[in-house]
């Protein structure tokens, strides 16, 4: 008997030594090891011990900077990172159940390359791959490629028509990008490889499809060079903070990460995403809405607050984030998760303020607490990330077109 589907999905977002800029200075931090495979293997193994649904791995093309539009000259924070898709690939053979969702910037990269990279991650992980798409309108990242440019803008100008137009364009391009990636994943039918010795044919070419995508920014012919991945469609995710990105979540993704201030805010965002889903003709599809939270967890609220204060002091500034920062006990966090879940949130992506401490608080204290409340799994109940998220393996969009006589099952 498979156990009932867990009520709540849980993921962690891994980024360097943790999300607090002073995290790398904690006693248990290993800042010298950030660029080694062993470091990432250890973190993901811990997350898997906690039976989490998946980890995400942050990335950016440019060097980290405290300033959004410009590179800073700071030397007191973690700088430098490895390609997230490759970190995920390096970890995949060392884990067996947890989903792996690396971040990839879609503004400057090739959808053909990324499609085959994530399909391959799905092969090397046995069906546990996902992809978090991220746009970048940072002028300094565009200069790394020298192929396009973006005007500098500041966060204060976010709601000006110019910035909103720029945002619309980059997110529309991201939607096209996801469409191309998804079509490429479907460009091979599952049974395209026939190895028919009698006719000498390795593949049935009728089961391979040109995707013939044409958009304002790019066109892609297809088919992929990589056969359809084990999950059919690996999980696509995106982080979204306002209406334009909410639309990307609604029309293109399986999982949206949002940053509500409270349960009420969460409710409003979910309503907007669901409306966008209806508009995109995806009313019948599951789009998980995960809330992002930065977490500082300790045995008591006081201890968590004190640790936060210590980190802030070392950083020279109080930590602020796009997501709510929760400092308290695992039980207190469980209360909040339950409350937000009641508002329609289907999962949580927790950003540990400092690793390994806050990661272990999640896996060793929060998870058992959630389990006591009957909200979280006691064993991995599926072999694929889609399975863990309760998503079916999708039919191939091209299969029916080429095989009209096959009865729908």
């Amino acid at each position: 008997m498979p156990q009932p589907h867990p009520a709540l999905h849980l993921a962690v977002a891994l980024d360097g030594a943790g999300w607090h800029p002073a995290a790398w200075r904690e006693t248990d931090a290993r800042p010298q090891d950030l660029f080694t495979a062993a470091y990432w293997a250890g973190l993901v193994a811990e997350a898997e011990r906690g039976l989490l649904d998946f980890v995400t791995i942050e990335d950016s093309l440019g060097l980290q900077s405290a300033d959004y539009t410009e590179l800073d000259q700071r030397t007191d924070q973690v700088r430098g990172r490895l390609d997230a898709v490759q970190i995920a690939a390096r970890i995949a053979p060392l884990t067996s159940h947890i989903g792996l969702i690396p971040t990839a910037v879609v503004t400057h990269t090739e959808p053909f390359h990324l499609s085959k990279a994530i399909a391959t991650l799905d092969y090397v992980s046995g069906g546990r791959a996902g992809l978090r798409v991220q746009v970048s309108a940072r002028p300094y990242e565009a200069e790394l490629f020298g192929r396009r440019s973006f005007p500098p803008f500041r966060f204060e100008d976010f709601n000006t028509p110019e910035v909103q137009a720029l945002l619309t364009e980059t997110f529309d391009e991201a939607a096209d990008y996801v469409e191309v990636v998804r079509r490429l994943w479907d460009s091979w039918e599952d049974d395209a490889e026939i190895r028919d010795v009698a006719t000498g044919r390795f593949i049935d070419r009728k089961k391979l499809h040109y995707i013939d995508f044409e958009g304002p920014r790019f066109s892609v012919k297809g088919p992929s060079i990589t056969p359809r991945p084990p999950q059919g469609q690996p999980i696509v995710a995106a982080l979204a903070h306002q209406s334009i990105p909410f639309r990307l979540v609604a029309r293109s993704t399986d999982v949206g990460f949002i940053t509500p201030r409270d349960a009420e805010d969460a409710r409003a965002i979910i309503a907007e995403i669901r409306a966008g889903q209806d508009e995109a003709g995806r009313a019948g599809e599951t789009v998980h809405v995960f809330a992002d939270l930065v977490v500082l967890l300790d045995d008591t609220d006081e201890a968590a607050a004190a640790r936060g204060a210590r980190l802030d002091e070392r950083a020279g500034a109080a930590y602020t984030s796009d997501a709510l920062v929760f400092a308290g006990t695992p039980a207190g966090l469980a209360d909040l998760l339950e409350q937000w879940q009641a508002a329609g949130i289907t999962g949580f992506r927790l950003r540990p303020a400092a690793v390994p401490h806050d990661l272990e608080q999640i896996t060793r204290h929060l998870v058992p607490e959630l389990r006591r409340r009957g909200l979280f799994r006691t064993a991995y109940e599926a072999a694929t990330l889609r399975g863990l998220l309760g998503l079916p393996r999708p039919a191939n969009r091209y299969a029916t077109a080429s095989a009209p006589t096959t009865s729908a099952v």
Binding site: G80, R90, A92, V124, E193, G200, K221
Partner: protein, 459 residues
């Protein structure tokens, strides 16, 4: 013997999407499942090979307007597979082809630097240049470049990645928790590189990797390719399979190194070769013939013929003589996306050669194709093959070999178990890895050492 005994370098090429792979053999496994890559990598590492090599393909081949369906089709992403293999191996070098046409230097440098970190110094990049407009249809960049421009772009591409790899010196990550200094240099990774093909600036975001830069391979035999390799590569992946051709190529390319201030040891010449082993030489020859007939079916022979003839020859009998009509000269409209199309620069001359061959040896169409598409193979007992390989290396026809087995994934198992021990007995192949990085295995200096030496020589 005054000449010291050279050490052989060995690599395993995961069979790609061509007719080398005999997929119809009952022992043939998946070309996609990760377990196949793990098997080949672990065998290569058990045998102390220098590295594993993956080729690249970015568009499915077509012939006569249809996707080519006779050979293996489908391959995974190079970086993803190599990085995943780093998790299941410890010493084996991990080499992959990545083209310089449908990528950008910043991204490729980032990916290779990441692979080098995640494999603790085992990354290698085979830089290739020849991609066409057909392939470009899969890329937002689109387009293609004429041959001369391609090498220019490749040269500038490689230069740009070197600028990026060298933008971190290697000592910038201080990470001193007490003082709060993470980065020792506020400008770490800064670059500003403006040349005709690239206009890029900013800060590279991957710190210097264990090998400094990945090992650079170059494949290609043209004049430009040879010069490019002599100036910038650590190793060449060639196809010169006969002793004479090999020695000539070896002498030519090694002779070009001096003008770039490089020694003859700084560029390894590694032909891609096939092999067939048997209990006796006669049995191996018989097996080799059988494999060739599996590789070139009647249908495959017709497809090869069409590539040269540039016509639909689907009605032609492969067991009969070559077609009486001549090849169509001009733009090849029949076959797209395969290297062999680009190899036949003068189809009429090649057809004349094939006809002469057919007449001299009384060959059918299929037999001609079997002859002309056969690459140098080392065929024989393990002792025969070991002797032949060693002769190649000791007489300067190569520095080693990239072995392309005809079976996935068990194609080098026998080689590892029978030929390698014989090479080890002769003292021409390592019995244990002496170092941990691919540069160590290939006897290549770390780029910082090499640069320091060049500076010393110049001063």
């Amino acid at each position: 013997m005054s000449k010291p005994v050279k050490q052989i370098h060995l690599a395993a090429h995961f069979p790609g999407v061509n007719n080398t792979t005999v997929w119809s053999d009952p022992a043939a496994g998946s070309q996609i499942d990760f377990s196949s890559f793990v098997h080949l990598a672990k065998t290569a590492e058990r045998a102390k090979f220098d590295f594993l090599f993956l080729a690249e393909g970015l568009r499915l081949r077509e012939q006569g307007g249809e996707i080519y369906d006779l050979d293996v089709v489908g391959r995974p992403d190079t970086f993803t597979v190599l990085t995943a293999l780093a998790a299941v191996t410890e010493r084996l070098g991990l080499a992959g082809t990545i083209n310089s046409t449908f990528n950008e230097p910043y991204e490729v440098a980032r990916q290779f630097a990441s692979l080098d970190h995640l494999s603790a110094g085992r990354a290698a990049w085979n830089v290739v240049t020849s991609w066409d407009e057909f392939t470009g249809q899969n890329f937002r960049r689109g387009g293609f470049l004429a041959q001369g421009d391609r090498y220019e772009r490749a040269r500038q591409f490689l230069d740009a990645t070197k600028v990026l790899f060298d933008s971190w010196k290697g000592d910038e990550i201080v990470a001193d928790k007490e003082s709060g200094v993470f980065l020792g240099d506020p400008d770490a990774g800064r670059f500003d590189h403006r040349v005709t093909q690239f206009d890029i600036r900013g800060r590279f975001n991957v710190p210097r990797s264990p090998q400094g830069r990945p090992v650079i391979f170059q494949a290609g035999d043209s004049e430009e390719g040879r010069e490019f390799a002599a100036s910038a590569a650590d190793a060449i992946f060639t196809r010169h399979g006969t002793l004479e051709a090999g020695r000539e190529f070896y002498a030519d390319v090694k002779g070009r190194l001096a003008k770039y201030g490089r020694s003859r040891d700084e560029l390894k010449i590694l032909p891609g070769v096939t092999f067939v082993l048997g209990d006796t030489d006669a049995e191996a020859q018989e097996k080799a013939l059988l494999i060739r007939r599996q590789q070139v079916s009647g249908q495959t022979a017709i497809k090869f013929l069409e590539q040269l003839w540039n016509r639909d020859l689907s009605d032609h009998d492969p067991d009969g003589p070559l077609p009486e009509v001549d090849p169509l000269v001009g733009e090849n409209t029949i076959a797209r996306g395969r290297a062999s199309v680009r190899m036949h620069r003068d189809p009429l001359a090649v057809a004349a050669q094939w006809r002469a061959l057919a007449e001299a040896k009384n060959l059918t169409t299929r037999e001609v194709i079997i002859e002309v598409t056969g690459r140098q193979s080392f065929i024989g007992t393990p002792a025969t093959v070991a002797e032949a390989l060693n002769e190649f290396v000791q007489t300067d026809a190569s520095d080693g070999f990239i072995l392309a087995p005809h079976l996935t994934p068990g194609g080098i198992d026998d080689f590892a178990d029978t030929v390698v021990p014989l090479l080890q007995e002769r003292g021409v192949f390592r019995t244990e890895y002496e170092g941990t990085t691919l540069r160590d295995h290939l006897g290549l200096r770390h780029p910082d050492e090499a640069a320091a030496r060049t500076r010393r020589a110049a001063s």
